[in-house]
């Protein structure tokens, strides 16, 4: 197959941008801001170009670029995307410029370093979604940690160090286990292939042949790492701290993109590599997912800090995604993929909105607010739409994902138990409770605090950030086919890999 360099270019745009940025003078903040924005917009435009040239009638990897990287060990630089990766790539490159603009007012110190880390982070995120070699994947997976660690640790809130270290250790613990698993997987595959390789596509053909016990260990090792990232109950406690301490841009990227790497990992690695173990553990993981849906919602409901509320709501939303993946029906997996995008948009926007009001009052305590509808009507309007999207109101994006996930999990023969769906479905009640309750306390009622009278409504720049998100929120709600079609064939392929794994040939 001929190499296609587009994905490599996409990877190099933010990388080159980050390097070039180092030659800027620190005091030249305006130039740094516009340069960072320009780089990330170019990356988005290239991602769009890739989207328009993507063949959604195929579930195979496209735009593949492959060459030997570490020759002796058969480790490849191997990149390529299917429909799922493409959607996440679009999400990543769409969100990054928005977060950069949003931090123009929020980040006042070390702007150059901040922009550098954001671009650096984008390299890692793009890399994770396009890697088709386990070793390469691992490198990007780890690379991402560093800028995120600094973004939380340098530009974060009061307890940023605690949060950053907690984030780092949690994720690091998981990824070390994944590294062991990668090595073991490749070594074990040598028995079948006759040579050592970390190439994912090759491993797809042999890993499913492993015995159930080996599959089980490998499945669990990968699953642990991804479950921490998602985060799956009960591995979620790093999330509220990281979110609350991170600056707005960090939270948006964290919720919008980073969490999706866990669910993406399940889809890309766990299911196709270890189909037997995946089916074996589907119910177990789904139980955790369903607990997360209810637990996340209930704990979100009683939070007093807006950002923490949104953070816990992520636990609930990602629970839906995981349930959809492990229900393993076409409907539920399609729902899970679209829900990853939805969560990126809705929760990303919620964090942006919380950040915007925080910049005005320097508090996120719900009790500080009350009756701001009159003072900041435009803000209240945006918060309403985004909340409704997160609640899963039909006609907006959230509904499409949740509906497909629940519908698919109900008919799932892998789970084969209605209670998963029944309990998960009650999550939609609590979702309405925690968001509308917050909305009621913050926006409605009489103005409770005279200081609130001084806050100003959204600026043009802030509206400019939110409008594109709202457009997609409505678009996915009304005409999700644009996005569902992209991933349809890819999810079909993954489900085939699970239901009809390659058979062992006699050697």
């Amino acid at each position: 197959m001929e190499n296609n360099l587009l994905l490599t270019y996409l990877l190099f745009i933010p990388l080159t941008g980050a390097v070039v940025l180092l030659f800027f003078k620190s005091e030249n903040e305006k130039a740094i801001k516009y340069f960072g924005l320009a780089v990330s917009v170019i990356a988005f435009l290239l991602a769009l170009y890739i989207y328009f040239n993507f063949d959604s009638n195929s579930g195979e990897f496209q735009f593949v670029h492959k060459f030997k990287w570490i020759a002796n060990l058969s480790i490849f630089y191997h990149v390529g995307i299917d429909g799922i990766a493409l959607l996440l790539l679009l999400l990543t490159t769409f969100i990054t410029p928005l977060t950069l603009i949003s931090s123009w007012s929020g980040i006042t110190k070390k702007v150059k370093e901040f922009t550098f880390f954001m671009l650096f982070l984008e390299v890692g995120m793009i890399g994770v979604f396009i890697s088709l070699d386990l070793f390469l994947f691992y490198v990007f997976w780890e690379v991402m940690l560093i800028p995120m660690y600094f973004i939380i640790g340098v530009w974060g809130g009061k307890e940023r160090i605690y949060a950053a270290v907690k984030f780092f250790i949690y994720t690091m613990a998981g990824s070390l286990i994944m590294l062991v698993a990668i090595v073991w997987l490749s070594v074990h595959a040598t028995n079948y292939l006759g040579y050592f390789t970390t190439d994912l596509v090759e491993l797809y053909s042999v890993a499913p042949l492993f015995g159930l016990d080996v599959q089980t260990y490998l499945f669990l090792a990968f699953a642990l790492s991804f479950a921490i990232k998602v985060p799956l109950f009960p591995l979620h406690t790093w999330l509220p701290d990281a979110h609350v301490q991170a600056p707005t841009a960090g939270s948006v990227i964290l919720a919008g993109v980073l969490l999706k790497m866990g669910t993406y990992g399940f889809l890309r690695f766990n299911l196709p590599l270890f189909p037997a173990a995946s089916i074996h553990f589907a119910s177990f993981i789904s139980i955790l997912a369903v607990i997360g849906i209810i637990y996340g919602a209930l704990v979100a409901m009683v939070q007093t800090d807006m950002k923490k509320l949104v953070a816990y709501s992520s636990v609930a939303h990602l629970g839906f995604v995981v349930l959809g993946i492990f229900a393993m029906t076409q409907e539920s997996v399609q729902g899970a993929v679209i829900q990853m995008i939805n969560h990126g948009l809705s929760t990303g926007a919620l964090f942006l909105l919380v950040g915007m009001i925080y910049e005005r009052t320097h508090t996120r305590e719900i009790s500080y607010y009350g009756g701001i509808a009159k003072i900041v009507p435009v803000y209240s309007f945006f918060l309403m739409i985004v909340s409704l999207s997160s609640i899963g109101l039909p006609g907006l994006n959230g509904f499409v994902g949740e509906f497909l996930i629940l519908l698919g999990s109900f008919k799932s023969t892998v789970l084969n138990n209605w209670w998963f769906t029944i309990i998960a479905a009650t999550g939609v009640i609590f979702a309405a409770v925690y968001l509308l309750w917050m909305y009621k306390r913050v926006v409605f009622g009489e103005v409770t605090n005279s200081k609130l009278n001084e806050i100003t409504d959204l600026t043009k720049r802030e509206i400019f950030i939110l409008v594109p998100v709202i457009i997609f929120i409505v678009w996915i709600g009304v005409y999700p086919s644009t996005f569902l079609n992209v991933s349809e064939k890819s999810t079909t392929k993954i489900l085939q890999q699970v239901s009809q794994p390659p058979k062992a040939e006699l050697k």
Partner: protein, 646 residues
């Protein structure tokens, strides 16, 4: 016009967008009202055109579909944005856009001077948009879009005056309660859909109904499907046990109560059962449950309505009660009678609310009937039209409510049994009593307000003309559904029109027994006499001997208190469901489990690692030879492991 039916959905949406986006910049209230009402008026014309066209078609061609685009497609699921134009959806469409238009016009007067009229009309238009989707949808999912959409508008409009206190809390608390309670029902609706999809592999009405007849599906599945859907209906249509939100919904402006919480949205559950009547017909157990819930809700809500002092509260409980009748009709298989009552109720209950609104408007937001009295002379039009509506709801012939309610009562006797008729008839007496109680206390007798300070006045024409139109409809609307004993075979125009929609369901139901005309007339007479007795009792107590009311209330103090406090249902829910969930989440799940247990474990682990590292640090001796030794041992071990595992 049938092909253009999507305009009836699109026009309200355009109205919403125009007023929603530009409304705050349109300073002229009249323009805003004109845009809002105009969108609905035009939508009504579209529906009316489609109705006339359908009327001209032969009976077997009266179901038509208009497809717009693919909405959600994944795996085996294929949901279109597509509308079904048939006898049932046209009747509903005419009610929603017709009554909706009248109420929009009324709102121009009622909301005059409000600082955010534009927002009001935008929400109202959005509501009609959602409601039209609900009734025109050709599949469950699009119906659900409308179903949740009307819930959203209800939420937004209940809390329209978001900074206004309401009872113990605020209007936005009432709005949130409505949304959340509705969502509980919606989960039932969702689960019903999932089971339908699992069973029939489709969510389109046509496919599902065709397969329901042809697939070999055990009866229990139908029972479960219909029960799930019915949970949804109890939420939206405020039936036991999910009725608690509707009384609070009165926090919204009165036209909202008339349109959403009386005439249209709350009837969505009834419509949904009518639409899926075939599934219900195959689940006799569910039918019985629906009938029981319906008749008990009717009775139960009427008892609360007897003693409330807030005029809108009485009307709210009255609505719950009347919806109970409609569910009774559905449960006893009298589908077209239920829809007939839905229609007449839309006329007279909208009129009652708008009349109450007219009173409240002129009494400076006073809603307590204890401070009304003698308003007849100040507001003759409101008085006259309110009286017509009161007669209609009491079931006095020949007003519209008589025909529809009588049909339901009669079928509940013939199809299920005497007890259902009896409870329904008693409710009818209570209804006549409570409605005339508020009528007399409001319009007759001597004024109980300070006539020097309050100067009641008749409402402007923009409000009274809608009242008059609705009064005419409430008075004569019943004539399209005259029972066959008076009108001859197929003389009931309304049920003949709807018959094709319910044919499949009615074929599955078999009710036996034959009843004479004498029996039917007897039962009819009893309920009419009962209603008249109710009216006369109210007249005697509240006009002639007001002291009776007080002494009775004192004598049966405990009963009175229970009724006045609505059987304490809200308090019971609060202490058994709401509080435990919130407290449990806060003190146990969050502060105990999350912070202490999980995080404690993680931090403890981290702590012990750093402790251990204090000792491990000592291994770093700096002696290179030692490092080399450790390395060699390590490599050897690794080699062994690799060899052994090969």
């Amino acid at each position: 016009m049938i092909d253009l039916i999507y305009l009836a959905v699109l026009l309200p949406l355009i109205g919403f967008l125009v007023n929603g986006i530009f409304g705050s910049r349109i300073k002229n209230e009249k323009v805003i009202g004109l845009i809002g009402s105009g969108a609905i008026g035009l939508a009504f014309l579209v529906v009316a055109g489609a109705f006339l066209q359908t009327l001209s078609l032969p009976v077997d061609q009266r179901t038509n579909y208009v497809e717009l685009f693919t909405w959600i497609k994944a795996g085996g699921l294929h949901i279109n944005a597509a509308y079904q134009v048939d006898q049932l959806s046209l009747v509903m469409g005419l009610i929603v856009t017709g009554v909706g238009f009248i109420i929009h016009v009324y709102s121009i007067g009622y909301m005059h001077g409000d600082k955010s009229v534009w927002r009001f009309f935008a929400y109202l238009n959005l509501f009609i948009f959602a409601m039209m989707n609900l009734i025109l949808a050709d599949n469950f999912v699009l119906m659900f879009l409308g179903w949740e959409g009307v819930g959203l508008c209800s939420y937004l409009l209940i809390g329209f005056w978001y900074d206004k206190p309401f009872e113990k809390s605020t209007t936005s608390a009432a709005g949130m309660k409505a949304f959340v309670v509705n969502r509980i029902g919606d989960v039932g609706f969702l689960l019903g859909m999932f089971l339908i999809y699992l069973t029939f592999n489709s969510l389109n009405f046509t496919d599902v109904f065709a397969r329901a007849s042809s697939f070999d599906v055990p009866g229990s599945v139908f029972t479960l499907i219909t029960l799930f859907l019915f949970i949804g209906a109890t939420g939206k249509s405020a039936q036991i046990p999910l009725f608690v939100w509707l009384p609070d919904a009165m926090a919204g402006p009165t036209p909202v109560s008339a349109l959403i919480h009386a005439a249209t949205m709350v009837t969505a559950g009834v419509y949904m059962i009518a639409r899926t009547s075939l599934l219900y017909a195959m689940a006799p157990t569910t039918m019985m449950i629906v009938a029981v819930i319906g008749v008990f809700t009717a009775f139960f809500a009427a008892t609360i309505g007897l003693v409330q002092n807030d005029i809108k509260k009485v009307l709210a409980y009255s609505t719950i009660s009347q919806l109970g009748y409609m569910f009774l009709a559905m449960g006893v298989g009298a589908f077209s009678a239920g829809i007939f009552h839905l229609m007449t109720h839309a006329f007279f209950k909208a009129l009652l609310f708008l009349g109450a609104g007219s009173v409240i408007h002129s009494m400076h937001a006073q809603q307590d009937i204890r401070y009304f009295g003698g308003l007849k002379k100040y507001m003759p039009v409101t008085y006259g039209t309110f009286l017509v509506a009161a007669f209609a709801i009491s079931g006095i012939p020949p007003f519209s409510g008589f025909f529809s309610k009588d049909e339901i009562l009669w079928y509940s006797y013939t199809n299920v049994g005497f007890f259902f008729w009896l409870l329904g008839a008693i409710t009818a007496v209570l209804t006549a009593f409570y409605i005339f109680r508020i009528h007399f206390l409001t319009f007759n007798g001597t004024p109980r307000f300070d006539e020097k300070r309050t100067h009641p006045h008749e409402s402007p024409k923009v409000m009274t003309i809608p009242l008059i139109i609705l009064a005419v409809l409430s008075a004569v609307g019943g004539f399209i559904g005259i029972p066959e004993i008076f009108s001859g075979e197929n003389g009931n125009v309304f049920s003949t029109w709807l018959a094709p929609v319910f044919k499949a369901a009615e074929l599955k139901l078999s009710y036996f027994g034959s009843y004479s005309h004498f029996e039917e007339l007897l039962f009819m007479s009893i309920s009419v006499v009962g209603a008249i007795a109710g009216i006369l009792t109210a007249r005697y107590i509240y006009l002639s001997k007001p002291e009776i009311a007080e002494s009775t209330a004192r004598k049966y103090g405990r009963v009175y208190k229970i009724l006045l406090n609505k059987y304490y249902i809200d308090e019971v829910y609060e202490s058994t469901v709401v509080k435990p969930i919130i407290n449990g989440s806060k003190s146990f799940l969050w502060k105990m489990f999350d912070v202490k247990l999980i995080d404690g474990f993680v931090n403890g682990l981290a702590g012990s690692v750093s402790n251990a590292s204090k000792y491990l640090r000592k291994l770093q001796t700096g002696v290179v030879q030692l490092y080399a030794l450790v390395m060699i041992v390590g490599i050897l071990l690794a080699l062994f492991w690799v060899i052994l595992s090969l």
